[in-house]
Symmetry: C2
Subunit: 187 residues, 2 copies
């Protein structure tokens, strides 16, 4: 038995908002049942997130204010791709700028889609090891604090509700799978 095809066919696509950061599209689509509908969504260049794992077992996180939610978050280092940029190169650049760390060993762990209801954003998650501290190089208006903590502390911060950023939760859960030897890295 073949699975039913739920795909929706684009009839027309319009860029209805073009801001400095956000590009919003509204498409007319045809549903599998022949009905017409409208879909609004954000076009995103993609993003990267890393679990920087220090030799002493601690992880490198960041405390950062997120205006959209009007609160601070404890997050793994992450960043947006510039269109066409190689994800690993982007993650290496972001890690250096935001934390000052350079990693000599990188593993790609998985892809994740943070917001499938209204954005095409795809993130790639990396494990970064063999870290050397050089010099943080923040943009003048990029304000954040580097926070180093053990995996156990970070997992407790998820359990207690202190960490609620989805990409960070996924990254830490993945890191625990790896640390326990339950999920093995390829390559």
């Amino acid at each position: 038995m073949k699975d039913q095809d739920f795909s929706e066919q684009c009839q027309s696509s319009h860029n209805v908002f073009a801001g400095k950061m956000l590009k919003v599209y509204r498409d007319e689509v045809i549903l599998p049942n022949g009905h017409r509908s409208t879909r609004e969504y954000i076009i995103h260049p993609g993003a990267v997130v890393a679990i920087p794992w220090l030799a002493d077992g601690r992880l490198v996180l960041e405390r950062q204010y997120r205006y959209s939610v009007r609160q601070e978050f404890l997050e793994l280092p992450a960043g947006k791709l510039t269109p066409g940029e190689d994800p690993l190169a982007a993650m290496q650049r972001e890690l250096l700028e935001e934390t000052g760390y350079v990693a000599n060993r990188w593993h790609r762990l998985c892809r994740l889609h943070p917001c499938i209801g209204y954005a095409n954003e795809e993130m790639t998650l990396y494990l970064a090891q063999d870290l050397t501290l050089t010099k943080q190089n923040l943009d003048e208006d990029e304000l954040l604090e580097v926070v180093e903590m053990s995996l156990d502390e970070a997992m407790r911060a998820i359990q207690s509700g202190l960490i609620t950023d989805a990409k960070t939760m996924v990254g830490l859960f993945w890191a625990e799978k790896w640390a326990r030897g339950e999920w093995v890295l390829e390559g």
Copy 2:
């Protein structure tokens, strides 16, 4: 030592796009260093997601097409709040409509923020147990397939890259913590 305050002060706020689904705002803000900047973001009413746990140990997921990413996803049941709606009531409504299941036991597990870079969306994650199958009640244009699988199968689907939806990954990782007795439910 007091932590440095990174909060950004709103100077003015404008609704720059008001679609059927998406509301986009552009705010002028003052950064902690006194500089001015602009923030664009989506105002979202909030959402809910559930891990429906059957008596035989299988979980209830859904196969659904997501136009924004132009692909199908295997997801936990979820939905958007209508403004002012109680999250648990919303989750009970969505679970019944989408899967036909009614749960007699509910536990609130955690909050998560899927998209802190450009949306204020907050999700609440629930564990739903003691399930009874009644009748699915999909909107005419809501097309999805209910998929039941064990936690082990679902975890392998994360590991292999089949499941990439962030809210579903967080829900399944949380479910495994609970199933192993590592994280205990309150109340």
